[in-house]
Symmetry: C2
Subunit: 299 residues, 2 copies
């Protein structure tokens, strides 16, 4: 089944302690789309500027992503520049130029409205709400967020969560949103906001699938070579949602498998800058790493 | 089979953001012994001062720990005082008074010399070496360490590791010891020092069992109420070693199960100050939590 994703498509300039990438393809919706496209058809809604190169559009097309919802607006594409330190944790933002993204108001094409799966990538909760007003009863709605919205638009975010089935956020965000330092308590509190399930991302430490009647913990897939963690969270969500949308029926064990697929897709993305690594793999590489992961985590 | 443990038995005063415990039973060997005693006979070598209360000795006896190697020396017992912040990560040491521990030179009673399992808790690598000189070909030697020895006695530590089968250390220590920021690379480098297996402890994020031909990753058992993480690492090692020593034959899957037992024993210890929680449980509580853990981590 098709997944509608609404988010950013951007230029990223990334500095790591070992290397640098300039104006590469980035943005939450790019990472999500390419990752999900390995499993299910993806419909993208985003905006770029006139400076957005055709080569980058070709990448999305190559992955058979429906880009009829990608608007090319007058002006420049969203640009982000950041620097990672040795621990590859939260990058320090050097610059964030919203450019055409500052006027972004998501318009859902009529051919997208019947999408059964919806992923609201990290954009303002007001815009996330606007997306939901334009779609026809999707089977499953998922959303992501970031610290910025928790700090500045918490009320709108909490209102949105009433309409969301699966909420993706990282550990720090979960604690910030609930002002609760214990992760289990934070998770339980977020469930009360409305989502049926939450996915707590813990970076190199793994992820947790959290619902009122079930929990599932997994470690991350450790790598001996991490190049750039940018986009790992969106790639994770793409693998998770793509896997779900590829299934006729959803069950608890399908959701658990989805968490593993998210983990594995994220493990690929960090091995190179931008989407490079994901664009170099085949479905068999994913299955192989899933198998390896299960071996690494089974008694 | 019996496990010989050499380490500290101490008084701890612990401050957390929510509470405080004064001069409670602590020390690496106390935590290790009580934890391991659920699975195998334990023989303890340590030193305390004349101020060490009989009640604390009774606790060790109650757990059927052989204390014929516990010396009561003239002077005061090792005392540590520390404070945890909200994140319950590394505590800030307020005071560390070695007292009688500063003259500690481990003497292994003749009745201990045939111990098949040896655990060298976190003491100077010189003292750890002295222990090994006094035992008769144990089946398995494990050791722990801390940042202090890596910073100040790295050469002696690396020399000791040649004689060690299983080396326990936390993630930060692994990176520090190898001056390598990537955990997989750090693990591989430590294996070259000599240990056949290493156990990398990641606190609330889980643990890794690492050998040249096999790896096993598990998350931690998350709790909604953490009171005091003091002793979690030693309790982990106690569960791991105790479980191993209870088995006739060691196999890869026994080592993996041991990692789970270590995780579960550590999950109990953090639920209260000192050894209180561990002293309140029965073996059935352990089995139950092991079962719960396997459910939480299985698809």
């Amino acid at each position: 089944m098709s997944i509608l994703v609404v988010g950013s498509v951007a230029f990223d300039t990334v500095h790591t302690p070992f290397s640098k990438a300039e104006r590469v393809l980035g943005g939450s919706a790019s990472y999500f789309s390419v990752s999900a496209s390995f499993f299910s058809p993806v419909r993208l809604v985003a905006v770029v500027g006139e400076d957005f190169p055709n080569d980058y559009i070709e990448i999305l097309k190559m992955r058979k992503i429906d880009i009829s919802g990608l608007t090319i607006a007058k002006g420049k594409t969203f640009f982000w520049e950041g620097r990672y330190e040795l621990d590859f944790n939260n990058p320090k933002s050097i610059s964030t130029c919203l450019n055409v993204f500052s006027n972004f108001s998501p318009f859902i094409p009529s051919t997208y409205k019947n999408s059964k799966y919806v992923f609201l990538a990290n954009i303002s909760p007001y815009l996330q709400e606007k997306v939901l007003e334009q779609v026809n009863k999707p089977r499953l709605i998922a959303s992501d967020t970031m610290n910025y919205w928790i700090d500045n638009e918490k009320e709108a975010l909490v209102r949105l969560l009433k309409k969301v089935d699966i909420f993706f956020l990282n550990e720090m965000e979960a604690k910030k949103l609930t002002e609760e330092n214990n992760l289990v308590k934070a998770g339980n509190r977020i469930l009360k906001f409305g989502p049926k399930k939450i996915v707590i991302k813990r970076g190199e430490y793994g992820a947790i699938l959290f619902s009122s009647d079930s929990k599932f913990y997994i470690p991350a897939f450790l790598l001996d070579n991490v190049v750039d963690p940018t986009g790992a969270g969106d790639t994770f969500a793409g693998g998770f949602m793509g896997y779900l949308a590829s299934k006729k029926r959803l069950s608890e064990s399908i959701f658990k498998e989805a968490l593993i697929y998210g983990t594995i897709m994220a493990s690929f993305i960090v091995e190179d800058f931008s989407l490079n690594r994901l664009l170099s793999i085949k479905k068999a590489d994913i299955s192989e790493r899933i198998k390896e992961f299960k071996k690494l985590t089974s008694v």
